[in-house]
């Protein structure tokens, strides 16, 4: 008998005595006091406040042109090494506006396979799947985020998204993911820059992941 059979048999034998239980269903709205009203302004405001409280950087932009300016501003306080960018139409049209930046940008098809070379990137730029207002989080899947490393290995992670991607709470984010099923192997919910409090509970940013997380949200009508 294999370990698998032995374990499952033991569980099955015991299971008979267990009473039936149903899976409860609850909505985030009923559970969480800070569940926001589902208007773009309210959600954007809460998203921004939560992100900033966690020492993330928040920028609202009225247009792609303005987003490009904010991006330049964000990168100006980082080193001047190469910047890795996810392959995405929104990101293309934003960086189009930054002619000065163009020769520093490396798009997905030119990413190095070797992780050691990848570690040289100064920053990684991605879009988001969804922005979670209640926790100021970014939901990101690898099938569209330029892989697993792009948003975690470089010391600065810049997210460019739109107000149309805001959802009130995690439940709605996960529902949307479910609705657009795709072939993805990895999803991360990112809430603020990397942190630790392992030493005397003192908060330090940039433990292993990005020290800086900057989010630009382009307002859409």
């Amino acid at each position: 008998m294999s370990a698998r059979e032995n374990i499952l048999n033991r569980l099955r034998q015991a299971e008979k005595s267990a009473q039936e239980h149903t899976l409860p269903h609850v909505h985030d709205q009923e559970l969480y006091r800070d569940f926001p009203e589902e208007s773009p302004e309210v959600m954007l405001d809460l998203f921004a406040r939560r992100l900033v409280a966690l020492q993330g950087e928040f920028y609202a932009a009225a247009s792609e042109l303005e987003a490009a300016e904010k991006l330049l501003h964000i990168l100006s306080s980082a080193g001047d090494g190469p910047v890795a960018v996810q392959e995405h139409t929104l990101l293309h049209s934003v960086v189009e506006h930054n002619t000065g930046l163009r020769n520093r940008l490396v798009f997905e098809q030119n990413f190095p396979e070797d992780a050691r070379e990848f570690a040289a990137f100064e920053a990684g730029i991605t879009t988001a799947d969804w922005l979670i207002a209640r926790s100021g989080s970014i939901l990101l899947r690898t099938n569209r985020a330029g892989g697993r490393r792009l948003s975690v290995l470089p010391p600065l992670h810049v997210v460019i998204a739109t107000t149309g991607q805001l959802v009130p709470s995690l439940e709605q984010g996960l529902d949307r993911i479910r609705a657009q099923e795709a072939d993805w192997s990895y999803m991360t919910l990112i809430t603020g820059p990397s942190r630790t409090a392992d030493i005397e509970k003192i908060l330090v940013l940039g433990a292993h992941g990005p020290k800086r997380l900057a989010v630009i949200v382009i307002e859409q009508n």
């Binding site: 015991a14 239980h21 992780a115 697993r148 996960l174 993805w184 192997s185 030493i199």
Partner: protein, 458 residues
């Protein structure tokens, strides 16, 4: 017996250690303030959240074998491989074989209690494989040659000065480094490890029956461990199952609120398999080892089964006056505090570990904080009963109490004993040592019943 006397010895030392006490109190006071604040800021009703979580886990336990099979089927369809291990030795054997076959020389590891349970570091060390702990707290205890002090905060017992001295010796940083400088030293120390390791090992906070593992963390070391090396090995207990992604909307904030007092941890990753077709990067292989190691036996005991609802948040450790006094290392177990005292005897033997169930005042603070409503202090009591049942041979306590019960349940016998005591009192005082003689109460000359019959009090 040795385990017990070790526990007593270490507990006595720590209980008198004022410096230790101050460090732990500082950490736990900070923790408690944050947790209580987050519960009331975030939830309409924390008790409702706890009960929903307990119900969800009850459903999972009711369907555990089916859900495990679903997990296996679904994650295998995503390209991952699933192995089963009945005990620590079998899990170690799997790991040894996996790494030998792939000629792995260097492994980066993110914090995982199951790997502590099966002692992966010792195994790999013996295989000549370099292992780097990447979680800051784990790195600290690894460099110090210690075991984790706490299931969530492995280095809770070390002050900044302790860690600075350790890093000064091992990593060459100035002995006066701040928490930030120490964290950056750890970051630099590990940066190259992620990109040069041949394999990454992680645990899992949850396994989704729909075919995924979930990892929650703050530092990003877990994400790097699952992103860079070509092989990703996951070691997870069979009780970690949740049905689907949707359940995370309840469980992720619940775990973090109880674990650290944050609303949600910095990174929560759902991993469905190795690199998928068309993806930019990710490991070529993902192997999940499902670990039993006493869990299915516990599952088979109706009274104890619900302890498998545990999500390892650490709240019961922090709430426990015994843990705070004797410290995490005294336990001599992978899981410390109330949950450790409940499950360790089932995982590693009642005879050797039942003393932990007695190291409790049964105050119930643990039960009150547990986010999945595990009845911890009653389970400690049940462990005591079980240990007594299992004990063979003549036990002085058992004989004594059986005799006491016989006397106390019969008026006649009680009267007989009283008479005997009155008659033998003088001679008893002679043979007893002085200290006891003074404490020995005088037996009443007449019993209450007798006095009543004689009309006293009327």
């Amino acid at each position: 017996m040795k385990t017990k006397s070790e526990f007593l010895r270490k507990a006595a030392v720590k209980a008198g250690d004022k410096i230790h006490r101050a460090k732990i109190l500082k950490a736990i006071t900070t923790y408690t303030g944050k947790v209580e604040g987050m519960k009331s800021a975030q939830y309409h009703d924390w008790q409702q959240a706890r009960s929903l979580a307990a119900q969800t886990k009850n459903y999972v336990l009711r369907h555990l074998p089916d859900l495990l099979e679903q997990f296996e089927r679904n994650i295998t369809a995503n390209g991952a491989q699933v192995l089963w291990a009945e005990d620590a030795a079998e899990a170690r054997e799997h790991i040894r074989r996996i790494f030998r076959e792939r000629k792995v020389r260097k492994v980066v590891k993110s914090k995982s209690m199951t790997t502590e349970e099966i002692e992966v570091n010792e195994l790999l060390g013996g295989e000549g494989i370099e292992v780097l702990e990447s979680d800051l707290g784990e790195l600290i205890v690894q460099l110090a040659g210690e075991k984790p002090y706490h299931i969530v905060t492995p280095a809770m017992h070390k002050s900044r000065q302790d860690i600075a001295a350790l890093f000064h010796e091992k990593l060459g940083v100035p002995a006066s480094s701040s928490a930030e400088e120490l964290t950056m030293a750890a970051r630099d120390h590990l940066r190259s490890a992620y990109v040069t390791a041949d394999a990454g090992i992680t645990g899992a906070n949850f396994l989704l029956a729909e075919g995924a593992i979930v990892m929650t963390e703050n530092e990003g070391n877990g994400r790097l461990t699952m992103s860079c090396p070509p092989v990703h090995v996951v070691i997870a207990g069979i009780e970690k199952i949740l049905p689907a992604m949707e359940n995370l909307a309840l469980f992720l904030p619940l775990l973090t609120t109880s674990g650290t007092g944050q609303q949600i941890t910095c990174y929560n990753s759902v991993v469905r398999g190795p690199r998928a077709a068309g993806e930019q990067d990710g490991p070529q292989e993902m192997i999940v080892i499902l670990l039993d190691n006493g869990r299915s036996a516990m599952y088979g005991e109706p009274e104890f089964q619900h302890a498998l609802r545990c999500i390892r948040c650490g709240a019961c450790l922090n709430a426990c006056p015994v843990y705070r006094t004797v410290g995490g290392h005294a336990y001599g177990t992978t899981y410390q505090g109330p949950i450790g005292s409940v499950i360790t005897p089932h995982m590693r033997g009642m005879a050797e570990f039942s003393h932990l169930s007695s190291a409790s005042s049964l105050c119930g603070a643990c039960t009150q904080v547990c986010p999945v409503q595990i009845d911890l202090h009653h389970l400690l009591l049940k462990n005591r009963a079980k240990a007594t049942e299992e004990k063979r041979g003549v036990d002085l306590w058992q004989v004594g109490f059986a005799g006491w019960a016989r006397v106390m349940t019969s008026r006649k016998r009680l009267e007989g004993v009283r008479r005997l005591a009155v008659a033998g009192e003088a001679s008893l005082r002679v043979i007893l040592p002085h200290a006891l003689r003074k404490r020995l109460p005088l037996p009443a000359k007449k019993s209450f019943a007798r006095l009543w019959q004689e009309g006293a009090g009327r």
